[in-house]
């Protein structure tokens, strides 16, 4: 191996999982906190350590040593998420940061030490900057190679150039972070990294294998691995400020169009495309409107512009575009518009059909449907997604055209086709109706009455006993029709564990003398027409 290890500066945040739990979940790190993974302590706070909690203890043992211990489950995603601002803060000062693991990041020391006037000065400056911008305590170590720098950071030391092997020689073999190997070395009488490094490399390889040989190189301070520098994520957000507040929809739409083009160009420049788009508008009085739009394909410039227009249209004019949780009309015009791409993916290029046909038909249909959305509002054009559920109306979710097609409830579609993208994990929904499915599903059921041959109303008892065979059905004010065939009751007792959502029904299929077949349900003594087999 040629060359010497890269002089590395490593920033280390002690007890990072505990700090991450404080940052993300608000668990105060000043109290006794332990982070557990698989019932073992992986990290603990200073207070907990003072009470005798150590890494590797069982939960019960840790709690017996420190009864007021707060226990947090280990979550690597949380650690990584919380560390992102720290990395960003370091990146503000130095370029080329490698995240070694959540809680530690390394940079090549040469640049910052020259720029900031020496390694000690650079270390102090970085610690101070991280503390100010993220309120996170950290330590910095400088040594040759990432491994040695990590150990130096724990001691808060700057190891002089070329002094790394001596620095490592005094450390115990446990510093290799290989418990099995350390245990073995201890029993062989090798107690420090210096003792281990003194062993002949060939013998170490023969006795301890490749991992042992790698550990041997690290112990000798020969860590040649270059830094895997992280690429800072590109800032893709586009913002437009308006000196003159925009209060007319057409003006806003015009502004949105230019912004959409700009965003699209920026994304295309990075070879990216976005599937979700956050649109933020701020008025002169400081009101904010934020909404995330989803899209099943890739958002084009025109699609982005449409969505901005719809959102602003609904907001500015207070039109009947969308019902529900629409914010109140703004009291002033819009002064700032921001488009935040979310769900950014590498644009592999939407491939048209070989002869151009499939893509063209799709484009044509999308254009027509977007046009209708422009006429009636985005939620007026929908597409149906089949999911799980026991009644025909539960199984269908209507998704606005262009949004992601996700069912409300997971499950196999009732036709028995294999559910796309799901393996055997789909719930079976016992009690769903057998095929054929009704062709007419009423959004609000019609009330009906059912009489038996003697003219008495037919009732279904709590134990699902039908009082008499149904003979005549009256829907609303229409004339009674004779029932020629019926089956049921088929009980459905849904969500009985949640009193607010519980529904208990008994369903019937009936066929009438005029050839009609209906799906009836009895709920709380009331007969309802749920669907028609038209």
């Amino acid at each position: 191996m040629t060359g010497s290890p890269v002089r590395t500066l490593l920033l280390w945040c002690p007890d990072w999982p505990v700090l991450a739990a404080e940052i993300v979940d608000g668990v105060p790190a000043t109290g006794p906190v332990a982070v557990l993974h698989a019932n073992r302590v992986v990290a603990c706070s200073e207070r907990a350590r003072a009470e005798g909690v150590r890494r590797g203890l069982r939960k019960r043992e840790a709690q017996s040593r420190c009864p007021q211990l707060t226990v947090v489950e280990y979550d690597p995603g949380r650690d990584a998420r919380a560390f992102e601002p720290v990395v960003a803060a370091v990146e503000e000062l130095v370029a080329g940061v490698e995240v070694v693991r959540p809680g530690a990041c390394a940079v090549a020391a040469r640049g910052p030490s020259r720029y900031l006037g020496g390694e000690e000065a650079a270390a102090e400056r970085i610690i101070e900057h991280v503390a100010q911008s993220c309120l996170v305590e950290s330590q910095v170590g400088v040594a040759d190679g990432v491994f040695a720098a990590g150990l130096a950071a724990r001691a808060g030391r700057v190891v002089a150039p070329g002094g790394t092997p001596e620095f490592l020689a005094g450390l115990p073999v446990e510093a290799l972070a290989r418990p099995a190997l350390a245990d073995l070395l201890r029993r062989l009488g090798v107690r420090t990294l210096g003792d281990f490094a003194a062993l002949p490399a060939g013998d170490v390889l023969a006795r301890f294998g490749f991992d042992g040989a790698l550990a041997h190189r690290l112990a000798g301070g020969r860590d040649h691995r270059p830094l895997a520098v992280r690429q800072p994520p590109a800032d893709l957000t586009v913002t437009a400020e308006y000196d003159e507040p925009v209060d007319r929809v057409d003006a806003a739409a015009f502004a949105a169009r230019a912004l959409a083009e700009q965003l699209h160009d920026r994304l295309a420049g990075h070879g990216l495309a976005c599937t979700r788009l956050g649109i933020e508008a701020v008025t002169a009085h400081g009101q904010e409107l934020h909404r995330v739009w989803r899209h099943d394909g890739l958002l084009t410039a025109a699609a982005i512009a449409d969505r901005v227009r719809w959102q602003l249209d609904g907001w500015l004019s207070g039109s009947n575009g969308r019902a529900g949780a629409r914010p109140a009309r703004p009291t002033a015009g819009i002064i700032r518009l921001r488009l935040v791409p979310d769900g950014v993916i590498a644009q592999a290029g939407l491939q048209s059909g070989l002869w151009g046909e499939t893509g063209e038909e799709r484009e044509r249909a999308h254009r027509a449907l977007s046009r209708v959305q422009g006429i009636l509002g985005p939620e007026a054009v929908v597409t149906a997604v089949l999911g799980g559920g026991r009644s025909p109306s539960d199984q269908v979710r209507l998704v606005p055209w262009g949004d992601e097609r996700l069912p409300t409830r997971p499950g196999p579609p009732p036709s028995g086709e294999p559910a796309a993208g799901r393996g055997g994990g789909a719930p079976p929904w016992p009690g769903r109706l057998p095929p054929p499915a009704p062709a007419v599903v009423l959004s609000s059921p019609l009330t009906a009455t059912v009489h038996d041959a003697a003219g008495e109303p037919v009732v279904v008892s709590a134990r699902l006993a039908v009082s008499a065979a149904p003979a005549r059905l009256t829907v609303g004010t229409a004339r009674p029709v004779e029932i020629v065939g019926w089956a049921g009751p088929w009980p459905v007792d849904e969500r009985w564990w949640a009193p607010a959502e519980a529904r208990r029904r008994a369903r019937f299929q009936v066929s009438l003398a005029d050839g009609t077949a209906l799906l009836l349900a009895v709920e709380a003594g009331q007969w309802l027409v749920e669907a028609i087999y038209d």
Binding site: R364, R367, A380, L398, P435, P436, V510
Partner: protein, 265 residues
């Protein structure tokens, strides 16, 4: 291809079109329909540019919606885009069972007073446009929409009263099977569909099909009434032809015997 090189303008009628004529995407002039229904339609399918109306049955709820879905099914499966306007009670489950690709099916449940504009916009871009006909549609609006469909090469399927359609289909009778007094469940329905129209379709026709068919019977296996000539491939959910009744005259379909021409006159 040498056999196709026929000299003479007559042979080019279907191959050459004026530049002003609508663009036939992919050159498919007729969208396919399920084999059982081909006998009812003059071109054995949904000819692009035509208007095929489905009249409300007598009585009302005897299979009209299922017939509309069955008309769409094969075209949708073959990759066409479809739209359904003004049907808030659309049963997506039944559509999927009949083989309609729901991701290529757009629904406009409540077009409101903009009905004609919406239908016209959809005709521009969608291959098959199904629309429930509102109560008051003037003849001029209807003619304009039909002309637009003809010019753009879409198929307009009005569901309801519609004068001047190329073909009008109507469910005359629907009889459910499988439901007895207090037992069984709905399994299949024998539907009698009549067709009348203009030009090539002027001769009234009537056929019987299973709509929906009984191929969906999976939960409780039972002995299916033996039908000669039923293909082995699974056609779950598609309309099934009723077995030939007696020795009546047969329509000239791809599968003779599959359809029964009830009234050949």
């Amino acid at each position: 291809m040498a056999g196709r090189m026929v000299v003479g303008s007559a042979a080019l009628v279907d191959l050459v079109r004026p530049a002003s004529a609508p663009d036939q995407v992919g050159g498919h002039r007729v969208l396919p329909v399920v084999p059982e229904l081909t006998g009812l339609l003059p071109n054995r399918g949904l000819r692009r540019g035509s208007t095929i109306s489905v009249a409300v049955g007598q009585p009302r709820r005897s299979g009209g919606t299922s017939l509309v879905l069955a008309l769409l099914a094969e075209a949708s499966r073959a990759g066409s885009w479809c739209a359904v306007v003004g049907v808030p009670t659309f049963g997506a489950g039944a559509a999927a069972e009949l083989g309609i690709a729901l991701d290529r099916l757009a629904l406009v449940p409540n077009p409101g007073p903009e009905w004609a504009t919406v239908v016209a916009a959809l005709i521009d871009g969608v291959d098959v446009v199904v629309t429930a006909v509102p109560a008051a549609v003037s003849a001029s609006v209807a003619t304009r929409l039909a002309a637009r469909a003809r010019q753009r090469g879409s198929v307009l399927v009005p569901y309801g009263r519609w004068d001047g359609a190329d073909v009008t289909l109507q469910v005359v009778r629907g009889v459910w099977e499988g439901l007895g007094p207090g037992r069984g469940r709905l399994r299949r329905r024998e539907v009698t569909v009549s067709a009348r129209g203009r030009g090539a379709a002027a001769r009234p026709k009537e056929i019987k099909v299973w709509l929906p068919g009984d191929e969906l019977t999976r939960v409780i296996p039972r002995t299916v009434p033996s039908t000669v000539g039923r293909p082995a491939v699974s056609l779950a959910g598609r309309p099934r032809p009723v077995a030939a009744v007696g020795d009546r005259a047969r329509t000239g379909t791809a599968r003779p015997g599959a359809l029964t021409l009830v009234d050949p006159a």
